[in-house]
Symmetry: C2
Subunit: 706 residues, 2 copies
């Protein structure tokens, strides 16, 4: 065993080095590249675009993220304070009124960093003033839970089990060579005493022999409980000794691993002969068509859209729509109560960092050729800044859709055919939280609509089973999912993505109005009609009035209006939240995971703006008890009429896996819209021109033009 | 008055001629053009494509629509039978088993026409054998209701009121010059005795002075009841004497009518350097990527998709998915019980002909540059064939979306980024049923999914009002809608589009399975989890088991499976119906319009295949009493397990108009999907390649390349 142990440690060291190498391969070599120009105009940004090093980035907008230079300054200041494990270092945004008052050319408000650190078992929340170099706020956690894991937490803990001879023996007994081991850090959730007073994680492992898709080869039932701070193994459980490791055949999804390929369509591309129609000023201010907004990557939320404004075609004025929008939390409960699965109730933003998991986008495939890419600049656990290149893309999309149209019909015989194409601007990121991939699109339309779309792809979290055919199964429900392939079960689960939407419709003071469609009966003799629908407006006075479960048979529109501003004919200006296909959370509200995920108990909530209420599961979600969620805040039932309000919308998916999801899932999407409702005096794109032949490009096949 | 009367009649004649000219401007001049080649391969089909005359079209597939030659033959045969008013002349499709058995190269089954005619106040249903020239079936209507109106019905009746001096005087008194009059034929619905025993229609009029958008200038409250057979005015009602005609300002939407325009974006185009990836064999058989289906225009349904088959990547075999899919009916009830509005409860397919109202698509705007266009060949009321050119388009779409993806994350550190772009094939038509425009897309994905999307645009049906500002209104609900502009109310209404989907998943005998997600509680001590969701499969035995109202809090998946065919691991192969955002009908089920629209009482129904049950509101919808609807059929509660079954899905929209809908509405869309569920052994697009730079086109601006 001695030589085997040595081998194991060499292997461990080798992989650790490899891991660190890959994880931080985006760290820049700081060079003397010229400062970024104030406005980037670009044509055909491609794979070959020179990587930007960001060493000379300077903040130019109050909401700009911390630069490499600023992060280094934070690191220096914090090191003086002996707080070594930094779980989050981001801009502490200036007060809202300061940002709203700021105009281009004004000096920037004082730059501050919000830091979450852990030392000696305590969580610390600090504000660092970058001007003075002082720590101006220093609090230790008062609620349950721990900060978001660092990338170092996640990677290092997956190797911790190897320090246990028991673990290694178990793995070998299960028929897996230690060199083929791939392990994942799985947040434990909180179920009571056993998850209290220390930071814990469960590690589960897979065989990566003969496939890059180790997710399809679970060492089922083997769970290692590890102390996340000490990296000590606390407990090893193996309830899967009778379960074979599924075969590697047909699991690898990489193009290079295919023995043949299937070309179904000819090349197709979105082309813009005169280049894109947007600019990105000062690195973060996106200006496109009638829209303007600030865009930045964030380690927890992924991307943050701020100060979204749209131009009024009648006045030319830029009008406020949304102060800030972001993915606040993701909640992914699996539906299997057994030992190795019950705890899988992920909070992907608050536990893993939705932005930390957003890898570089793959040009030409994640985003079309006409895309512009934006990098993320984040801090590692020791405070060192690093660059996540191509983390966000921005592109214009045209799918052949129609903005508006009308033909006169044979009924009138008038020869009118007026049609306008629909072109949109998409801001995209894709986070890979281990197996799963989430594609989040913020899509801006010229008619004032914002569509927020979430696509799910990536790889299922599967369960090993002795079954190889359904004819061996007596009760399908006992599988907790679908038999996808021999010895592989896709376990049923839900996805909930909760959005924070700080709407500021023509100013901060807004009201939330439920416009309920109710069946009304006519009086006898009033009409040949017996029934019709009437729209009844209910202004929400307090938060509980705006705790909303969607109902197909008791439908409403959900308006955010500015009660102080009316259109020419006297309607209050507004935007509405338009749900699309979605799924509700059906877990019992007293189930421990659901207490933590209580922010999914309604599809819509409205709270008064409070700068401390941004993360629906609480600031410290990891092992939290659910004492700091959106539900807790909302149940205070504060006044929300004619106030600065925040709308929360949860988009849900039920996922009963099917064989088509094996070994990698075709994308499934759903979306919701923010849509102007009496915001404009009339159709804001009435005067856009149609497409004309002479505007379109003249294209050749690449080969022909080479 | 005498000279005014003369003027009126000159004007009447002039417009009638104009109308006929426009209405039939697509009638071909039959020429000696060469027969269409068996397979069309095309590149850059554009506006300039030569119009095809169809005089030499020959049917080559059992489901091909009647050709010009065949329609003329029907006309000759029918003329012998003295049935002059033809309300529908379409192919009588051969029996399903005959079509399923037919293979390319086989002789065509006997060609027959299904004819609906009216003579002497009776509706006749005939089958004409084109081989023998015999009428082989001749029935007269046994249920309530009348056939779909002819285009001639609709156009001629709008001029009928002018024969009434009372009407003309009223119009002039309302301040509208007769030369500015534009009138619409509005189906009366059925509310009891007064709509029985004769074919009636209501005509309402507008002023087209100073605008092409006369819809925004209603002569509110003026309703003329006309006998549709005799064209006699039955009754004139004017309840709107106090209501001004709204102003024309800012209502015209035509590009040429704008005094300025708003160019928001640079030109953008979908380009395919190597041309489209699809072919259309024999004029109607579309072959794209892994899909094949038969496509034809239809005067009532719009388009019909038949024999949709997808290739199995593991066997290369084409597998049946859907025998036939179409828009069966549209139901559009308005929510205003007053005299001039209560009856507005349109059935756009069965009353107006959804295909008859589908006007030529506008190249470059209705469909992108890479689109192929298909013409419709229909029969006029006298049987004469005419061509509706460019009625349907087919194009490939790429919006920058992702077919599937996975990146390895910082957690594992593996350097994997695999992404595949999503390219789809869209079949589109756009019907303009007077004011409203419906865009119907059948979108095929390479992963086996079919997305069926309905977009709503066009112009609102508005109501005149004395109000010019909301500050004059005490009870907003009394408007029955929204004040959109001075004196203009957009009335609340619903849209329901009911689809007929004859699914044949790997064969005709299928079962419908409700896979219900139910909350399950764990036993004490079983698990730290209290609750989870389990999937419970319920096979529908009879029709009532499959009358489905969607419920967010009692969710199900809806599978159509083939119980006789299983995957390798033993799951039944299937497709599922995946609802998206939708709206339910809330009218009282006993309200007369809702009796006729009873097919919208559920979102999903499943019936055993019956060739007479294709139109959800019944064969004769006009003034029907609701005695021949999908609900009536389904309530027979026939067996549907392991049978040839038809799924019906209703997509709904509630529409509370807003000012942005004035004077023309930005498109609002919703969709549902048919999605493979254990149909393929695994992800069918695992082996498609990513985009590579060298495949993409090399494009120049048109001007630069000129």
């Amino acid at each position: 065993m001695e030589s085997k142990n040595l081998l194991r440690y060499i292997f461990f060291l080798f992989f650790t080095v490899l891991l660190l190498l890959f994880t931080f391969s985006d760290i820049p070599i700081i060079s003397q590249s010229p400062p970024s120009t104030s406005t980037i105009r670009f044509k055909n940004p491609t794979t070959n675009a020179a990587r930007r090093h960001h060493s000379a980035d300077v903040p130019r907008h109050p909401l700009d993220p911390l630069t490499v230079t600023e992060l280094k300054r934070v690191q220096n200041i914090i090191q003086k304070n002996d707080l070594i494990a930094l779980h989050s270092v981001v801009l502490e945004e200036p007060d809202k009124e300061v940002v709203l008052a700021w105009k281009k050319g004004d000096p920037l408000p004082p730059r501050k960093a919000a830091v979450v650190a852990r030392v000696g078992g305590d969580s610390h929340v600090l504000t660092v003033d970058l001007g003075s170099g002082e720590v101006t706020r220093h609090e230790t956690g008062r609620v349950s839970g721990y900060p978001m894991m660092t990338v170092e937490d996640m990677t290092s803990v997956t190797w911790a089990p190897l320090a246990s001879a028991d673990f290694n023996r178990t793995v070998v007994e299960r028929g897996v060579d230690l060199v083929d081991l791939a392990c994942l850090p799985i947040s434990t959730g909180w179920f009571g005493k056993s998850e209290e007073k220390r930071r814990l994680i469960k590690v589960q492992c897979y065989s990566m022999k003969d496939t890059a898709n180790f997710y399809m080869r679970p060492i089922e039932g083997l769970t290692v409980l590890v102390d996340l701070d000490t990296k000590q193994v606390v407990e090893i459980t193996d309830k899967g000794k009778h379960i074979p490791i599924p075969n590697a055949a047909n699991t690898d999804y990489r193009f290079t691993a295919q023995n043949s390929y299937l070309r179904l369509v000819n090349p197709i591309s979105i082309e813009q002969p005169k280049g894109p129609s947007f600019t990105i000023e000062d690195g973060h201010l996106v200006k496109w068509a009638n829209w303007e907004f600030h865009l930045k990557p964030d380690p927890r939320a992924g991307v943050i859209i701020s100060r979204a404004m749209v131009r009024d075609p009648s006045t030319g004025e830029m009008r406020n729509v949304m102060y800030k929008g972001l993915v606040s939390e993701l909640f992914v409960p699996y539906m299997d109560p057994t030992d190795a699965w019950y705890f899988k109730t992920y909070m992907d933003a608050g536990e893993y960092g939705f932005g930390l998991q957003a890898m570089p986008l793959e040009p030409l495939n994640d985003c079309p050729r006409n895309a512009y890419y934006m990098d993320g600049v984040f801090a590692a656990a020791d405070g060192t800044p690093y660059v996540r290149s191509n983390m966000v893309c921005v592109f214009e999309s045209y799918a052949g859709e129609i903005g508006w149209r009308h033909s006169e019909s044979p009924i009138t015989g008038m020869e009118i055919r007026e049609v306008r194409p629909k072109v949109t601007l998409v801001v995209r990121m894709a986070a890979s939280v281990a197996n799963y991939d989430y594609i989040v699109d913020w899509e801006f339309q010229t008619d004032g609509l914002i569509r927020i779309k979430v696509g799910l792809s990536g790889i299922l979290m599967v369960k090993g089973t002795p079954y190889s055919n359904m004819n061996q199964v007596n009760h399908q429900e006992s599988l907790y999912g679908t038999l996808l392939s021999e010895n592989v079960i896709g376990v049923i689960h839900d996805h909930f993505i909760t959005f924070y939407l700080d709407m500021d419709v023509d100013g901060s003071n807004n009201s939330f109005v439920k416009v309920n469609l109710e069946r009304e009966y006519t009086s006898p003799g009033e009409s040949p009609r017996m029934s019709y629908l009437k729209a009844v407006r209910n202004v929400a006075k307090t938060e509980k009035d705006a705790q909303i479960k969607l109902k197909l048979y008791d439908p409403s529109e959900f308006h955010v209006i500015n009660p102080s501003k009316k259109t020419r004919v006297g309607n209050p200006v507004g935007y509405k939240v338009v749900p699309g296909g979605t799924a509700a959370n059906l877990l019992d509200v007293n189930d421990p995971p659901q207490k933590r995920g209580a922010f999914t108990n309604n599809q819509i909530w409205v709270t008064p703006y409070n700068e401390t209420e941004q993360w629906a599961g609480g600031l410290f979600v990891y092992q939290s008890h659910g004492d700091d969620t959106l539900e807790v805040w909302s149940n205070r039932n504060r006044a929300i009429e004619n106030k600065d309000i925040v709308v929360w919308y949860t988009l849900g998916f039920h996922h009963i896996p099917c064989q088509e999801d094996f070994p990698i899932m075709p994308t499934v999407s759903s979306s919701f819209d923010l849509k102007p409702v009496n915001f404009f005096e009339s159709n804001p794109i009435l005067k856009i021109p149609p497409n004309f032949e002479h505007d379109l490009p003249n294209c050749k096949a690449y080969a022909a033009s080479a």
